[in-house]
Symmetry: D3
Subunit: 143 residues, 6 copies
């Protein structure tokens, strides 16, 4: 990966590792729980990641938006679905969310470019972005 | 309807009417747009209302939560789906969202009781809660 | 005064007094500063109170909205001006601000009724709502 | 208990029970984690509850403020300490936090009255307010 | 234009274009409405842009602050008026808004430098910053 | 100092100076009050700075987090205490605070490196970070 996604990915992995190695048991449990919650159940993983995207955007956290854009794309969310989600964000969160949507569009573009080159993971095997715990697949086994 | 739902419904309808009658064209357009955004398209209306619920909860607006709980129930969201949504809210928004979830559970209970008595609208014909514009069905025709 | 405005007024005065009597010098200074900031200077007091209304609404604090609605009305803000302000709030803060606008419309209605009966203060002599420090006029002398 | 504290306590207990009985494993884990985090370790439980009070106030959640006021009082926080904490809240969160501080002062007054009558728990044995999980003492054993 | 303003301007224009070209009708309507709301009516455009600045600052969105600083300057807001507005922001939003004010002061300085060189638009003909829809003047004709 | 801390420090000092030189009396008073509030009294300065860290993190202001991390370190807060504080932030503010904690861990690492080299101030004489008013020590004398 190159560009902003790669930088995001590298910093996120490196710092999550530090947080988890220095943090106590409770911090690990929170991270673990944060992974479990997005696993498909009564609602699909795709729907939950879209919810995560909406929450991230109305709370206006760019890194969280980037994370959920990647995960949504891995779960097969289409551009049409993304833009309808942006409308829900915009009407609910107001024009204050526009700068975040501008950056989201840029990120989405980079995601689509990488996907076209086969550099993004797909669905359940996603290898592009390691799970929240920093290890691919782990989040599925732990529940 | 009786109880909190009825009070919510009555105040909401009465004040929306005042807002719309006194407000200018832009306010009407915003309300209209707020309705259009939740109509099913690439994403189903159910998914969008669930997104609306998540946004309302992490932004911590009880009236908005009540509105989207009703709309989600009208669109057929099950208790299992609601509780998985609550988990996404809780992990994303933190313990600060717990008091809102306590009130949401109480509201959901009242919704289910009314549903059992046939007092809630179902799906597309929902007559229990008038559309955001204050007139049932209108939000579907205007797009 | 009667109704919600009177209850707001009574609780606010009583509790501000307790805060200020129990609080230390820094709390008093903050309250004092909070009054000084809204006094007319390069910008009129009316413009500043309208700004306070916008801040209160996008941060979604009903009591703060009530306070600034009263102060704006005292400074002569018209209904047309209020509704244009509501539009700025709505577009900036999103649909999450609608429930607050519904309550604002109700409060504004009560303010106008009281005004018609001569029960609200006008402009600079406002006696209806005591200054933030709990004593009419004091906020003007202290700077 | 009587008054607002009793109402808060009753609703909180009843609804937490419903959330936990209907909620899945992840919700229970979150609630459990929410209790563990406030147990004394490198930082005392008192310091952590004061932190919880600050977080609750700047995020402007009245129920959370009430909860942490009770817990802080149980951990022996004095009025002078509370008012210095209010100053940190006020300067950091701005005048938008004043209405919450007004309500906090009222709640604190009720807490002190109950304490004087021996109706509040003290320190570690606090029986007035059951732990976050709804069972006294449980939060200490589970870590 | 050079420096931060130019970078802001370039990214904003390019991404708004992408949002609007990929987005559906509702997104366009929101952007259009966002422009209409700030047009002078009962309240002057200057007052509304100042309100937009306050909303942006207390909601802590740097890009939104930059946008409204530019628009306010175009509408003739003086430094004295800006600094009184900063006081309203500071007292209402708290010390958490200070880092945003530091960046605002830097932006304002760049705006004034460009103005001195004749590189900023003035009032109604503002050509420096294209309207929210990405086309100068359009926002005035569409209402 | 080098790296991010030095850049933070330089920009903060330079812009605070501009804010204070251009700002009126009220802005100066706010900055002054912001310093006074953190001086030890019934609560120690350490406890108050930890509160400031919690407020900054749940309100999600990176510059404020950096400031309070530095001040906490100056007041002798240990890594174990910082990580327990991060847990309170995480559980209260939710996963939306994780990106801020990632950046906090990086900042803390730089602080510890500088401390090891004797480049950070300790406790009351802290010379590394000038007081909020931009002048070392001043904040203690002014109360």
């Amino acid at each position: 990966m190159a560009g902003k996604l790669a930088a995001f990915h590298e910093f996120r992995s490196r710092m999550n590792e530090k947080l988890l190695s220095k943090g106590n048991l409770q911090l690990k449990r929170f991270f673990n729980l944060d992974s479990q919650v997005y696993i498909g159940g009564a609602l699909s993983s795709q729907t939950k990641e879209l919810m995560g995207l909406v929450a991230s955007a109305v709370l206006r956290c760019d890194d969280c938006i980037t994370y959920h854009l990647i995960r949504c794309a891995e779960e097969g969310v289409t551009d049409a679905e993304f833009f309808e989600t942006f409308n829900v964000i915009l009407i609910g969160g107001g024009s204050i969310s526009i700068p975040h949507l501008r950056r989201a569009v840029e990120t989405l573009e980079e995601i689509r470019e990488k996907s076209a080159k086969g550099e993004m993971a797909k669905g359940r095997n996603r290898e592009g972005l390691k799970g929240r715990m920093g290890e691919t697949g782990k989040r599925r086994k732990e529940q």
